[in-house]
Structures are given as structure tokens and as C-alpha cells.
Symmetry: C2
Subunit: 411 residues, 2 copies
């Protein structure tokens, strides 16, 4: 028997199941007998909680529907694995389970925490001379992984952000009164997704007029100046901010520190609400803030087809690498050109990806630090292209049944 096991972990994206579809498809093609999915990431492996994805393939629509089902079909976890050399107990248990299940390859789909798990499993495998191939497949809406041009999940989140911003631009243009609309976008440390709001600009709308990323220290004084200047020229100003903007001392711009509500609890409002209060006080015009929140990471109905296809291709490529006998790698892609948009696939050392963060380079941001520039736009544009075919049932997108996530059955 030649079996494999797959985990998904970290935070949801619209494309992480496309990578799962890629792994399953290619593993089947490569002659794997049983393709197991562990429920809730590495925790599912430790608890022997697997489902047999090979059986799911009897539904001929399984992979197509999996491609467009949001969040993790296999569930997720946030477990941090111990050092495999100093504390090998959990690894011993897992590798013994792998042996029992005749597992020859392990695929971990996730962000940099997940790549840490993959790196540790591969270090343990090397230490005990296990023949099991351990492979990482990337994902994160934050686009902050090292050793890859851009991450699966980012393009779809970027398309969600840009589309929502354009629709909101129409919404903000209807009243002939001065107004400010602040849109708070995910990405605590890396501003890639906030930068994608710039894709909302069209021939008739330049919203958002201001974009603030966490990579540049946020100055309240300059933001007020910038906004007031724009309000002299136009009625509606839209400001896109990262949830993680912070001042030059590194303090987050948020109202949470000392705010107390009427129930005596600390207020936990974020950057958007905080800036709403600050600008509202400083500039006497209509003001509101919108937090795009979790829909931006799970809005598969608005996924980028480019993103889904790359996510799938990376899953397939991970299996190919394992098949070639490689281990300890992450399937990665590099960009060959922006126009025509072209990428190629390669394997990179998962240890070099784990725990690193790739921020927005300063040269992708304008001098004033209140917008992105053409370099960023050229980088972003191809990533949101194309729309997947979504089927609707009773007026809703048709996703895969994920009720197995509710069960606690052990395989």
C-alpha cells in the first residue's frame, strides 16, 4: 500500500481547498491507494482522526466543488509543535501511526506556522531516517510568506477587497455632501491586502484616495492634512487602512487601550473605529468606518480564478516533488513576467519559509507613505483576474458538506 496524509492549518482562505483538490487529484493520478485527510490539522494526526478522501472521489463533482468551498474542508488548528530533537514523543507517536497506516508522504497546507510544523516533521524524519516525504503547500491571505512570489488565497482576498471597495465607491458618491469612509482591511503586519484596495480604481473613481499600510509609521497629523486637502477638492474621501497601522513608536492605532463601555468592559475596537473617532473630532464632516472582517478571507463566491488555479497547481506540484523523492520542501512559484502574466513552479526549503515574514518593500509605496505606486499595481493586477464557475442552489453558492468537522469520530 502507498498511502498519504494531508493536513490544513492556520487561518481560512478562499483557495486553500483548491490546494487540497490539487494534492488529492495528483496523488490519485500518481497511484496512491489511500489519501487520508486529518481533521483539524496536526491535532487530527495526533488523535488519529482521519477521513478517507479516496472514497470522496466516487462523487465525480467532488474536486470541482472542493475548489470553490471556503475555509478548510479538513478543519484547522493552531497547534505549535515542540522541537523534534528535544521533545520527540509526539513525533514518535505520529511516525508510528504513519507506519501502521502505510503513509509514505505527508502534505501540510498552510501559512508560516504550518510550514514550521512541516519543517519539524521533516527534521524528525531525517533524524530517524524515515523514508516518509514531508511537503509543504503554501496559503495565506496576508501574502507574507518568504520564498514565493505571492501566496495562494491572497489573490481571492484581494479580489474581494477591490470589488467591495469599488461597490462602496459607488455608494459613497451618491450624496453631494462632504464625507469620509474608512475601510479597515486584514493584515496586521504586512500591508499587501490593504494595498490591493488600489485595484478598485477605475477611469471614473480613484477611491480609495488614501492607503495606509503597517510598513510605514502612521502619522495622525499627516492623515488629517491629507484628508482635509482632498476634501477641498471633492466630496467623498475613501481611506483604506491596514488593521495593523501603528505610529512611529510602534503603538497600534486602536481605541482599545483605555476605552471602557457602559457595561464597564474594555472596548476592543480596531484601527478603523479609532481613526473614525480621530478624524471625526478633527474634521467636522460625515464619517463612517467599515471593517471588511472575516468575509474577505472566506468569500469564495468572489474568488480569483487565477488564484484558485495556482493554488491547485501548487498542491499538484507538491505531490510531484514528493514523487521525485524530495522532502522538506514547500511548493512555490516565481513570476516570469507581469504582462503576459506567467509563473513557474519550484520547490524551496520549507525551513527557510517557516516563521519568516515578507513585508511590503518601501519602494512599492509612494514617498508620502499614503498610497501605493505603479510597481505595486503591476505586481497586483494579474492576481485577481478570472472568475470561477460557481453553481448556485436555492440562491446560494453550492459548497461541499463539511459536517464531518462537527463529528469527533476517530478513524
Amino acid at each position: 500500500m502507498k498511502n498519504c496524509v494531508i493536513i490544513q492549518s492556520g487561518g481560512p482562505t478562499a483557495a486553500i481547498n483548491a490546494s487540497l483538490a490539487g494534492v488529492v487529484y495528483k496523488a490519485k493520478e500518481m497511484g496512491y491507494d489511500r489519501i487520508y485527510g486529518a481533521i483539524n490539522g496536526i491535532a487530527g494526526v495526533l488523535r488519529h482522526h482521519l477521513i478517507d478522501l479516496t472514497e470522496r472521489l466516487s462523487d465525480p463533482e467532488f474536486l470541482d466543488k472542493l475548489m470553490v468551498t471556503p475555509a478548510m474542508y479538513l478543519g484547522s488548528c493552531r497547534n505549535r509543535m515542540p522541537d523534534p530533537i528535544a521533545e520527540p514523543a509526539q513525533y514518535e507517536q505520529m511516525f508510528s501511526f504513519f507506519k501502521e497506516k502505510e503513509i509514505v508522504a505527508f502534505f501540510g497546507i498552510g501559512g508560516n506556522d504550518s510550514m514550521d510544523t512541516v519543517a519539524k516533521l521533516s527534521a524528525y524524519a531525517a533524524k530517524v531516517n524515515s523514508p516518509i516525504r514531508v511537503m509543504g503547500v503554501p496559503k495565506t491571505i496576508d501574502n507574507d510568506l518568504m520564498q514565493i512570489d505571492h501566496t495562494p488565497g491572497f489573490g481571492s482576498a484581494a479580489k474581494y477587497v477591490a470589488t467591495s471597495l469599488l461597490e462602496m465607491a459607488h455608494d459613497t458618491m451618491i450624496y453631494p455632501v462632504k464625507s469620509i469612509t474608512i475601510v479597515e482591511i486584514m493584515g496586521r503586519d504586512a500591508g499587501w491586502l490593504t494595498a490591493a484596495s488600489a485595484l478598485a480604481r477605475t477611469s471614473y473613481s480613484n477611491a480609495p484616495q488614501l492607503i495606509y499600510l503597517p510598513e510605514v509609521p502612521f502619522s495622525i497629523t499627516e492623515c488629517i492634512e491629507d484628508t482635509e486637502k482632498l476634501l477641498r477638492e471633492r466630496n467623498s474621501v475613501v481611506i483604506a487602512i491596514s488593521e495593523g497601522i501603528r505610529d512611529k513608536e510602534g503603538n497600534y492605532i486602536s481605541a482599545s487601550d483605555s476605552a471602557v463601555d457602559k457595561f464597564g468592559h474594555q472596548q476592543l475596537s480596531g484601527a478603523g473605529k479609532a481613526l473614525e473617532h480621530i478624524l471625526g473630532q478633527a474634521i467636522g464632516v460625515k464619517i463612517r468606518s467599515v471593517e471588511l472582517n472575516i468575509p474577505q478571507r472566506c468569500g469564495t463566491h468572489l474568488a480569483s480564478q487565477t488564484d484558485l488555479l495556482e493554488a491547485r497547481a501548487l498542491g499538484e506540484y507538491g505531490v510531484e516533488l514528493a514523487e521525485k523523492g524530495e522532502t522538506g520542501l514547500m511548493a512555490s512559484l516565481e513570476r516570469i513576467s507581469d504582462e503576459p502574466y506567467k509563473v513557474s513552479y519550484k520547490g524551496v526549503s520549507v525551513a527557510e519559509v517557516a516563521n519568516g515574514v515578507r513585508n511590503v518593500p518601501r519602494e512599492f509605496i509612494n514617498e508620502r507613505g499614503n498610497d501605493v505606486n505603479e510597481k505595486m499595481l503591476s505586481y497586483l493586477r494579474p492576481l485577481i483576474l478570472g472568475e470561477p464557475k460557481i453553481t448556485y442552489e436555492n440562491g446560494l453558492p453550492e459548497f461541499l458538506d463539511v459536517s464531518h468537522l462537527l463529528s469527533s469520530v476517530t478513524f
Copy 2:
């Protein structure tokens, strides 16, 4: 010359331009020479700020693109018109302008404030024996207009809410830990849109497990009880609440009353944040709140085709009524059956619609007041059916250029 003028007013919806497309299409068919759109509602009429929509029809794609362009193509206003008998000055000015422009019909697309404007114009026309026909065409995402089965714009917002809830349900199911997700939905006084969250339920997900509407007094004690009970049976609980939930004394559940942030400003957080703090204090599990905010009313990329076609049909029907010599009416629809879904069109007195509000009837809500029932679901289901064909350009939905809203040119 046989000309007409159209205004749009109130808050944005995804379908209000479909009604505009209906009026323009039918007016052209009925032989109107010039079809004017007033920019920014009745304010545009008073300021003689018109655009000639007849010219726009030279683009053969104009009406199709208009159908799926969010918010108001003509802009909006929140002007409240004075009593036409006691203060006729503005009306005299408008009707003299109508005469000059050879206007024979006026169409007002909007909610109940807009129907108040239509009613006043029609009362003034009657008083001065003007032959101008004055007609209302309804819209509002709140679905709270009198004299109509449901309002254009509601079905699209409902589809946005239900789809987002389903996607978030997938997002909430991935971690094997107890959690509460609160989703705040628009509708300060009427709970129709919050009720539409129930449409997100599928064979594998019953999220939202709790639904609280403004029509039933909100009890914090009962909400805590309901949530704790659910958390004993399952990991993830999703709670849909209207932004307007209030206690039995009529006080809004919001943290805004006395909350002060670290900048010394009053916090303006809504029901979702408030309930997040309350439940977070009472129940020690992971908790978050999501405010769907303005994307839910302008998310045309996720519009209901049923809604768009009805919105258009109501626009067309308004022109037909005017053509028959009717005035002072609002184009309305009544439901003939849920399954198969069938409606018929009729005119209703606009004076009976103006300023009234249609709340969710108590018999559409369960006894405990924490969910809707099958009566509500049968009512809602047909309204989100069907998806419009949206064309994408550069990865974004292609909408009409609305740069005329930025100009202040007077016609």
C-alpha cells in the same frame, strides 16, 4: 415634445438602477422624446441639474450595465419637502421648470421618505390642476414599505447576507474550540434583512443558530441562556442580530451611551460590538463580531436576479400607469404564490405608502423570539433566486461610469 424626469433618493440598494433601467426603457418605448435624470434627487430638480438619459441610450449596453451598477446612477438626496399647500414656493418653481422642459411625467424611485416627496408633488399637481403625472417606484433593502409584498433591493441584500453567513459558517467550523460569532445586519426598525440570515442554513449547517430582530424585546439574560445551551451541544455558535435590537424598555443594545475611548471621544460602536462585550463577559469562550455594514446594500456582484427583474418591471409598470393617465400612485407588486413563485403588478396610493413602516409580523418569529419560523422562510426563499450575468474587466465587475455625480454642471 413629451418629456419626463426621474429622480432616485434615499439609501443605496443593488437594485435601484434596475428600476431606473425599467423607467428609461419603457419611456423610450412609449415615445417620450427626452428622458431626463435629475442629479441628487429632488435637489437636482430644484437646481435644474439634469442629465439627458435619452443620449445615454446610444450605447446599446447602457441598460444592461445600468441593471447591475450599484447605488444610485443619478445620485441621491435626503431632502424633506415642505407641505405643498402651506409652502408652495419650491413647488411653483419646479412646476414652472417642468413646463419649460415640457415634462409630462415625474418618476420618483425611492423608499418611504421618497414616497413622501412623490405624494407632495402629486398633491401640489392636483391643487394647481397640472396635467403632470407623478409616479413612485419603490426601493429599500429594509423591506419595510407598506402596500407591497416586498421591496426591490431587499432580495439582493438578503442574498448578500445569506451568502456571507454561509461562507462565515464554513469559516467558524474549522477550529475544534468553543466560539461565538455575532453578525450585525442592517435594519434599525424592521428585522426583515436580519431574518434573511436564516436562508444561509443548509443540510450541513444550521448557522445562524440564533436570530434576534428589533420587533421582539431583546433580553440579555435569555440570550446568554440560549447561547450557553447551544455551546453545550456544539463548538461554534453564530448569532445574527439586527443593528436595532433593543430591550423591553426600548433602549438600543449598543455600547455608545457612555463609552469613551483613549482619545476622550465617545465610542460609537453598535449592537454587535456591545453584544460581543456582554457575552464575552458572561461566557468565557472565543468571541468576535462582524458588522456586514454598507457592502450588504451595494453588493451588486451578488444581486438576486429575481430582485433585479422585479425592480426593472416595477420601473416599467410605473411608466405604464402614467401612460394610462394615472397619478399619485406607486408601482407595487403582490404575491400570488410562493411555489411556484408568482407576483402580479398593481398601482397603490403613494400617500398610503409615505411615512408608514411595515414591521415583521410576530407570527413570522418563533415563540422564544430567538429565531424566525417556516412562515418567514417560505416568504423569503423565492426572493434571492437567480444570478445576474455580471461581466468582469481586469478582475472587477464592470459598472457604469458615474463621474457625472462628481460634476456640478447645471443643465
